[in-house]
């Protein structure tokens, strides 16, 4: 039986940024008059995620992925809209809510930098009140896939990025959370390390039934892990559905990525492309994203 674990409704986050004027005179003006501009990082998005799902959340840099994750994890307060995760309102119930989730930020470690990783693990064990028995069992389980034990007694700053990420992942799961939020868990990793991480995520999703929401720039992460994908651009949710559905809709057996100097139309003929190819355009920042598709005859 599925029931929805994460519910977001009309979720928005607006940041006020103040526009700095250039130059010396502008700098002086800035001191007295400040013009604020609203930046909609996340713009009225709604979605729900069921227990046990593994969902990929993608979008360009600055599209609003991380802001969404930070609202879902109770770090940021939504400007408007509602979130409920497992019966908690993340921001309001932060103290009890964070006991039920695990969070990994690929860009920065949550382990103490200058001391052995095992010290951070011990701290987390205390924070989440994990029993000795559970702690040992979980370390054993994680060790099987992540080959954790050789890393535990090295200062974190001496670990490679891939090793560090393995430790960070294990650390986020020590308290057996129901949900795991991963913000770019494979960023900067080599192919082997990526595969290692993916294998681990697949296992915790299938065996431990942990619900996973991950953001990534690497489409192969999604292909290998997630049945469902959400695409966000400029704060708006563009697509939410099965990866297969996205493929179907775009029917992209092959695709061409065109980056134009300025947005505009492209004449397929001028590009020397056959007329049996239909174009779907997807905007992606200032450049255009073109998907070529071989057009089946409509039946």
């Amino acid at each position: 039986m599925n029931f929805s674990l994460i519910e977001a409704h009309n979720l928005s986050k607006i940041f006020k940024t103040f526009e700095r004027k250039e130059g010396v005179w502008g700098g002086i003006q800035n001191l007295f008059v400040r013009q604020y501009r609203d930046l909609k990082a996340v713009d009225a998005i709604s979605f729900s995620i069921d227990q046990g799902e593994m969902v990929g959340y993608i979008g360009a840099n600055g599209a609003g992925k991380s802001t969404t994750i930070k609202m879902l994890t109770g770090i940021l307060v939504p400007t408007s809209g509602t979130i409920e995760v497992g019966g908690y309102v993340p921001f309001r119930d932060r103290n009890s809510y964070t006991r039920t989730i695990g969070v990994v930020f690929g860009q920065r470690t949550q382990l103490w930098w200058d001391i052995a990783a095992v010290e951070s693990f011990q701290l987390l064990k205390k924070i989440y009140n994990v029993s000795d028995k559970d702690y040992q069992e979980r370390i054993e389980t994680f060790d099987q896939v992540l080959n954790l034990k050789p890393l535990l007694h090295t200062p974190v700053r001496k670990l490679s990025l891939g090793q560090r990420m393995r430790c960070d992942l294990a650390a986020s799961l020590l308290h057996n959370p129901k949900i795991l939020f991963l913000d770019e868990p494979t960023i900067g990793l080599d192919v082997v390390a990526k595969e290692n991480i993916r294998q681990f995520l697949r296992r915790i999703n299938q065996e431990l039934k942990v619900t996973v929401l991950l953001t990534t720039h690497d489409l192969s992460d999604i292909e290998e892990l997630c049945r469902r994908i959400m695409i966000i651009d400029k704060g708006k949710l563009l697509f939410d559905g099965a990866l297969a559905e996205l493929r179907e809709r775009l029917a992209c057996k092959s695709q061409v990525l065109l980056e134009l100097k300025e947005p505009g139309d492209v004449d397929p003929a001028a590009l020397g492309l056959n007329s049996d190819i239909e174009f779907n355009w997807m905007k992606c920042g200032a450049s255009l994203f073109s998907i070529k598709r071989r057009c089946p005859q409509p039946s």
Partner: protein, 267 residues
């Protein structure tokens, strides 16, 4: 109760371990503090030439005041404000807020760990060197010494709580380097570290009684020297305790307010 406290003991422990990695920094600190005491020794020596007693302080009492003042500073000092500013500017705040612990008490616990480290690796050697070189008087009495230790605990909390309040300003101001520097000098003066509070002009002495700063240095030192006793001792300790609690509560409310405005940088 013990399980509620366990995470914070663990934070104190990990801060202790983390600082071990930087222990060299504290060895240079011993020299800095020794130089400070030496400078004030000669300044006061010049001031006392021809005077037996100023404002109720004999020269040897003054040297005791200065020396013990710097020795206890090695213990209560922390950089919570800088750490919070760093959390916010570098975006580390995100990860820290995903833990089911109070952000304020996390920082204060880490400061406890740091202060325990400082006590062993900084206060003890600095104290030993200073006591060897300068004629520092023993505490007024055993009671004075006990009350002094209690007062020192409150001083630590007041110092930490003020730093937490200053650090929280980083949510609004982003860069608080100027604020931190201003606070640093304000506390050096108004805590009575540099000059005993009763040397100040009358107006400032009266104002100072309504401020928390003098309880960081002046109050513990006056207790140590046995200049506060009897009923006065109890009431002074009570006021100090009240300030510690009030500043902790203020920090808690301010942080709750600031979190609504929090922006996380990077990533």
């Amino acid at each position: 109760m013990t399980t509620a406290l366990a995470p914070y003991l663990a934070f104190a422990r990990i801060a202790f371990l983390q600082i071990l990695a930087y222990r060299l920094r504290y060895f240079t600190g011993i020299i800095t503090y020794l130089v400070n005491v030496t400078v004030y020794y000669f300044i006061w020596k010049a001031i006392y030439s021809g005077n037996q007693v100023i404002q109720g302080f004999s020269f040897s009492q003054m040297i005791t005041y200065v020396a013990v003042g710097w020795i206890i500073r090695t213990f209560y000092y922390n950089n919570i404000d800088r750490e919070i500013a760093n959390d916010i500017q570098q975006g580390h705040i995100a990860g820290k807020l995903t833990r089911p612990v109070s952000y304020q008490w996390m920082h204060i616990s880490q400061a406890v760990g740091e202060s325990l480290f400082r006590l062993l690796m900084f206060t003890v050697p600095t104290g030993a060197v200073i006591l060897l070189i300068y004629p520092v008087q023993a505490p007024g009495s055993l009671l004075s010494f006990g009350a002094f230790l209690l007062s020192l605990l409150f001083a630590f909390i007041i110092f930490a709580a003020i730093n937490f309040l200053i650090g929280t300003c980083a949510v609004y101001l982003q860069s608080i380097l100027g604020l931190i520097r201003a606070k640093y000098f304000l506390i050096e003066i108004l805590s009575g570290l540099v000059i005993p509070i009763n040397f100040f002009p009358d107006l400032l002495v009266r104002w100072s009684q309504w401020l928390p700063f003098q309880h960081i240095s002046y109050t513990p030192l006056m207790i140590y020297m046995g200049k506060v006793g009897g009923k006065q001792l109890a009431s002074v300790l009570l006021v100090e305790c009240a300030w510690a609690l009030a500043l902790l509560l203020a920090g808690k409310w301010f942080w709750r307010l600031a979190r609504l405005k929090l922006i996380v940088h990077g990533g």
